[in-house]
């Protein structure tokens, strides 16, 4: 029963995030809505069902950390941090406007709740690794979550970090891969294939599981504390749909950084209910 309530709360937050993010992208005529929408259910699950944090104390020592490695999906990140209480909703209206704190890519010196600056792909994993090592050294038990794109995993830096995390048996580190099978130009498997991705992580000393990245209940299960503690970092490969929730955007590479016209915006808001 308790879990059902949580699932419903997360669904509501995710719906609000999709609508709000799409409005931001529409108003700015800029953004990355496809990758926002594949990631939103994952990020909503983390912030509203899994992580421990206090938005009034963004620097709390033992807070769980979330690193948004796919930094282009700011529609997803900024709406999540807003819904989590880090800043007021008016800030979202300034998305990418002159002098805004809400840059096209997140900046920790501008916004509370942003743990590190991202935008160039392949930066989140090493930073998350460093956070997890710091926790290990200081005996803290907080968890560190990092979300990468799947195309992003073509960057070698991810695998350097994966190797170290496996070697150091960093069980508080959890990587979630937004496995929407599309990158900027086309499919990941047509560009530089990643499959079999779970086996790659296992070979690097990780626990690897697959999950439907839009099934909140399933996400809650794999991200629950009970899943860690096996002496290995955890890799959750979340199978997702780029553009999830809007019929004309789903699985379309052109919506990687496509922006809606007035009519598309209207249709999308009708579908996002």
């Amino acid at each position: 029963m308790l879990k059902n309530n949580t699932v419903q709360t997360i669904r509501d937050k995710a719906l609000w995030m999709r609508r709000r993010a799409f409005t931001m992208v529409h108003d700015a005529q800029l953004g990355h809505p496809g990758g926002d929408f594949s990631a939103i259910d994952i990020i909503a699950t983390l912030y509203f069902g899994v992580m421990h944090y206090d938005p009034t104390k963004p620097g709390l020592e033992n807070r769980d950390r979330f690193i948004m490695s796919k930094g282009h999906a700011t529609g997803a990140l900024y709406t999540a941090l807003c819904a989590a209480g880090y800043y007021p909703e008016e800030w979202l209206d300034t998305y990418m406007q002159p002098n805004s704190k809400l840059n096209g890519h997140p900046n920790r010196t501008y916004l509370p709740g942003v743990e590190t600056n991202t935008g160039p792909l392949g930066h989140g994993m090493p930073v998350a690794l460093g956070i997890a090592i710091a926790a290990q050294i200081s005996g803290q038990d907080h968890r560190t979550f990092v979300l990468t794109g799947d195309g992003e995993l073509q960057e070698g830096s991810n695998w350097e970090a994966a190797m170290t995390a496996g070697h150091r048996k960093l069980e508080t580190l959890t990587l979630i891969v937004d496995r929407n099978r599309l990158q900027q130009g086309m499919g990941t498997e047509d560009t530089n294939g990643l499959d079999p991705l779970d086996e790659k992580f296992r070979a690097f000393g990780w626990e690897a599981v697959m999950v439907d990245g839009h099934d909140i209940g399933a996400l809650l299960d794999v991200l629950a504390p009970a899943r860690i503690g096996k002496g290995r970092p955890l890799c959750v490969i979340a199978n997702t749909v780029k553009g999830k929730g809007v019929s004309f955007m789903e699985n379309k590479a052109s919506w990687h950084h496509g922006v809606p016209n007035a009519e598309q915006y209207r249709i999308a808001l009708e579908e996002l209910v």
Binding site: L30, N103, G104, G151, Q184, T191, N192
Partner: protein, 319 residues
């Protein structure tokens, strides 16, 4: 990505000239290959990919790999044009550029797209204002920032024929064609756009047409302004600089790049050592605030107005 600047009459996105020229060269020379990082669209290489699918190597989102692969392709007898957003090409793969391309002197052409602050709102991670400072000291690499579509085509043609590493820095911002009589592309040589004896404006890439506007205003006031299009930053045209310093006695540099280490830095290095004259440098002071590319140019004074003000400062210092 960033919204395209409104298309003005007579303005061109130099990436079109780049892509057209590469396709033409590739049709004539089978050694020409393109190497990209999931950047076919942003490099405008869709046509190239259609015509020469086997000669387009897309390594995925992996810039270090991409530049190393470029060196390997050159070793294998190809003429690789490695094309990516210049921030990731020059920043992420800097050591590959230094060791595998410059130090090893492989015949690789690096083409940085959407350089400077062209990505506007996407912010400093996506801007490339440090690339001049990073690449200029790598002696083997010829660094060229074309000012317009014509110069882009010439630079790409020259690079293909030249045996050695080249960095061509392009924008995505539309720029007008320069009007220069009997134009010839001479790598390593500054182009005299306007002759003058009171002051020299030196620009490259997207700022040349802004400097030309500033020059027109100043000349209408009776100030004899010289305008140099310094498309090649490395090697630097020291002869033209020595002449500018000794004949006009004051210099203003303007570039869509970091105020330190780029065109202005190069000019200041040379003049300080050989012909000390007042040098006013215009560029971006560091990581910029959020905003569109047009907002950023205005905000940091990379405008005809800003250039005129810098010219007055330089002239005042000359007295």
């Amino acid at each position: 990505m960033a919204a395209p600047a409104p298309q003005q009459e007579g303005f061109h996105d130099c990436r079109d000239a780049w892509a057209r020229t590469l396709e033409d060269l590739a049709a004539r020379d089978p050694r020409i290959v393109a190497v990209v990082n999931d950047s076919v669209g942003s490099s405008k290489l869709g046509g190239f990919q259609k015509t020469f699918p086997e000669r387009l190597v897309n390594v995925g989102i992996a810039e270090q790999n991409m530049v190393g692969v470029g060196a390997g392709l050159a070793n294998g007898g190809k003429i690789p044009f490695v094309s990516a957003a210049s921030c990731f090409l020059s920043g992420r793969a800097l050591e590959q550029i230094k060791a595998d391309i410059a130090y090893a002197r492989f015949n690789v052409k690096l083409v940085g797209q959407s350089s400077g602050v062209a990505y506007g709102e996407l912010g400093p991670t996506h801007h490339s204002i440090e690339d001049f400072a990073w690449l200029r000291p790598l002696d083997a690499i010829t660094v060229i920032a074309p000012a317009d579509a014509w110069e882009t085509e010439q630079a790409v043609r020259w690079a293909a024929a030249h045996d050695g590493p080249v960095y061509i820095r392009l924008s995505r911002m539309p720029v007008p064609d320069l009007t220069v009589k009997d134009r010839v592309f001479r790598p390593g040589k500054a182009e005299m756009v306007l002759a003058g004896s009171d002051l020299t404006l030196i620009a490259c890439g997207t700022t040349v047409h802004l400097a030309a506007q500033a020059a027109a205003t100043l000349r209408a006031e009776g100030i004899s302004v010289r305008l140099l299009n310094m498309a090649t930053l490395n090697p630097l045209d020291e002869e033209a600089l020595a002449a500018a310093a000794s004949q006009t006695g004051a210099i203003v540099t303007v570039e869509e790049a970091h105020i330190r280490g780029g065109l202005g830095g190069a000019v200041a290095e040379f003049t300080a050592g050989h012909h000390p004259v007042p040098v006013e440098r215009l560029g971006f002071p560091g990581f910029v605030v959020t905003g569109s590319v047009n907002f950023l140019f205005e905000h940091y004074g990379i405008t005809p107005h800003g250039i005129i003000a810098a010219a007055r400062r330089a002239l005042a210092r000359k007295q």
